[in-house]
């Protein structure tokens, strides 16, 4: 009897204390693209635990997906009416999801994101839809010893190489006979890498994927004089033996620069620590200026709220909580990406002043250009990828770019201008 009383007392106490506290929290669901990445999952789980413990209104639970198939899962779930409250979204894809009705505007205290890198802010139709804790950047990776041996000056943010200097550097590397190829653009990495990494070359020549003044056509920007100059230059990289083509071995893409097969490699900050570990004199140089300024891609994964969320205020509270420098720095230290704010960068090992990768923060701040902010980007990106692969394989530059323009324009037309 005494035992029964004790048990009943304990149950009452539980209900009065922990039980009621737990019951009071409304559950929010969140989908994340990091399945299979132990470090990333540890960080996101810590963030969620901290948020859940910090207040009594909301409790976030996470479901992780493999990055490769994440977008397909979200689109399928949207069709089936099964989206969670909080989703993460790749920056350039966000306008498509917003336009398709998968996301709702993100209502947070915008003073919190004043200092955020431009590429981390997902703005569509004049409204904030998503915000990222980090950005990514690419650089021209090489070694100081390579520059010294080839007698090349070190380009800087203020004075990057121009087209002639860049090609002279490739020619010098090729003529040295020390490398299989002078330049590794990363042709083995298909998919989003092509528009992310290579459309900045096009933009530096003066072209673009689509006319950003109207977003209604690619005519004149993807097949104009600047784009044709870009296409011919791009083709010459492969035709003249400066770069490995579309049949590049993925293994060479991963280790070619480290192994000394390539003199220069176009690669992201996520591969920087590996390169530094292999060679202490590794350099991360700014993108060359092909005539219209140096440009690199911007925008990585960001948090947003699904259109079907019944608790957008709770989802926004979680996202605001995640924007603290503490978490920006933790993600940066954990997965090597660029923290979104200067104050968070100062808290990190690699992006603080003088840190091994601090140059990437400057590159992201100075050279980054977001990919075209339009729902049609997802189609334009695939068309661009195919066109660049075809040109690299010897297709006629003008015909290929004209065909790409036709395809992009037809898609825009069939979607009634994508709401622009």
């Amino acid at each position: 009897m005494r035992m029964m009383k004790l048990t009943a007392g304990a149950l009452v106490a539980y209900a009065a204390l922990g039980g009621t506290a737990a019951m009071a929290q409304t559950e929010l669901t969140m989908w994340y693209h990091g399945a299979g990445n132990e470090v990333e999952l540890t960080l996101i789980n810590q963030l969620i635990d901290d948020f859940n413990a910090s207040q009594s209104d909301w409790s976030v639970s996470i479901e992780s997906f493999p990055q490769e198939s994440y977008n397909d899962s979200v689109v399928a779930a949207a069709l089936a009416g099964n989206l969670p409250d909080i989703i993460d979204v790749d920056g350039p894809v966000m306008p498509n999801w917003a336009w398709s009705g998968y996301m709702q505007p993100l209502t947070i205290d915008e003073s919190l994101i004043e200092d955020f890198l431009p590429g981390t802010k997902g703005i569509w139709d004049g409204q904030l839809y998503s915000i990222g804790l980090w950005d990514a950047a690419v650089a021209l990776v090489t070694r100081q010893s390579t520059l010294d041996a080839l007698g090349l000056r070190t380009p800087t943010l203020e004075e990057p190489w121009n087209l002639e200097e860049f090609m002279a550097a490739l020619e010098a590397a090729k003529a040295s006979g020390d490398y299989e190829y002078a330049f590794d653009p990363g042709m083995a990495w298909t998919g989003e890498w092509y528009p992310y990494a290579f459309s900045p070359f096009l933009q530096s020549f003066g072209g673009d994927l689509v006319d950003r003044s109207t977003y209604q056509s690619a005519d004149g920007v993807l097949n104009g004089e600047a784009a044709i100059a870009f296409g011919e230059w791009w083709q010459s990289l492969f035709a003249e033996g400066y770069a490995p083509g579309t049949s590049q071995d993925p293994a060479d893409r991963d280790t070619g620069l480290i192994d000394g097969k390539y003199a220069f490699s176009w690669n992201g900050n996520w591969a920087a620590l590996g390169a530094l570990a292999a060679h202490e004199d590794t350099l991360f140089l700014p993108a060359p200026d092909f005539g219209n300024g140096s440009v690199i891609g911007a925008a990585s994964w960001q948090f947003g709220i699904s259109s079907t969320s019944e608790h957008p205020e709770g989802a926004a509270a979680f996202i605001e909580f995640a924007l603290q420098d503490e978490y920006l720095a933790a993600f940066s230290n954990g997965i090597g990406l660029i923290p979104a704010t200067p104050s968070a960068a100062a808290m990190t090992e690699n992006y603080a002043e003088g840190g091994a990768m601090s140059v990437f923060f400057d590159l992201s701040a100075e050279q980054a250009l977001v990919r075209p902010v339009t729902p049609g980007y997802v189609v334009a990106a695939k068309v661009f990828e195919k066109a660049l692969a075809d040109i690299a394989n010897g297709a006629d530059v003008i015909d290929t770019l004209d065909a790409a323009v036709d395809e992009i324009d037809a898609d825009i037309e069939s979607n009634s201008g994508y709401g622009h």
């Binding site: 399945a35 299979g36 490769e68 198939s69 397909d72 399928a76 991963d254 280790t255 591969a271």
Partner: protein, 292 residues
Amino acid sequence: MAAVNPDNQGLRLAVRYAVLILIALIFIGPILFMVMSSFKPDLQLLQDTSSLRAFLPVGDLSLENYREAFQRAPVRLFVINSVIVTGATVVLSLIVCSLAAFSFVYLDWKGRDVILSVILATLIIPFETIAIPLLLLVSKLPWIGLEGFEIGWLNSYRVQIIPWIADGLTIFLFVQYFKSLPGELIEASRVEGATWFQIYMRVVMPLSGPVLATAAILKFLVMYNQYLWPLIVVQQEQYRPVMVGLQYFFQLNTAWGEIMAYLTLITVPVLGFYLVLQRAFIASIASTGVKG
């Protein structure tokens, strides 16, 4: 009569064996590469790809990739999920499709030939074309289970099993096989007073070992290799099968050794299933001319 030249005969045999060994190596090569690579660190694995070392257990061998694979993804869970979904679908498919085929071959009912033609016509429809309509359908279907009544089949085993139970190919295999059985057996059973279900259970099915094995293996392979369907209908890790799980290993810096270890692990059930049924499978191919 010309005498057989023993030298020529020996040479012919040697050439024949050489060709057979070459063909065997072409098929075994990728499996050998996968298994050997699963024991090598990434750097060595990539370096070995340019030589025959890729197929040999040489260099720095360890179980590290397996340890890492189990750490990166819930491998056991994925294998168990695939075995549950595949096993249930194979068993139910054999029952349902053989019953349907029995009806098409032995029972005389109106519209039989038309319906069989329609079922066979579904063979030419790629699954990708019906994936989205099917997704919309299953997301609205009702279900009564242990947890009561609910709407929607997403995130469950049933959504991965039920839509795949009946299919045109399996019905076609049974139809073809049942047609090859002696009609006198059925007639004799009818004369003896057996019901149609008794004939199905006691006469036809005991004679259908080869086609059961063939259908089971083909269905097993289809189900075990499922990717698109579970990708769009399952959003919870607890129900994910092995092929969706493979995506866990493709990160920014791909860990090839872990991928090979994972592939080796998930190949084991397939090889085991085939080895158990291979004799009946070969007998079926020999008797029906159906190729898998």
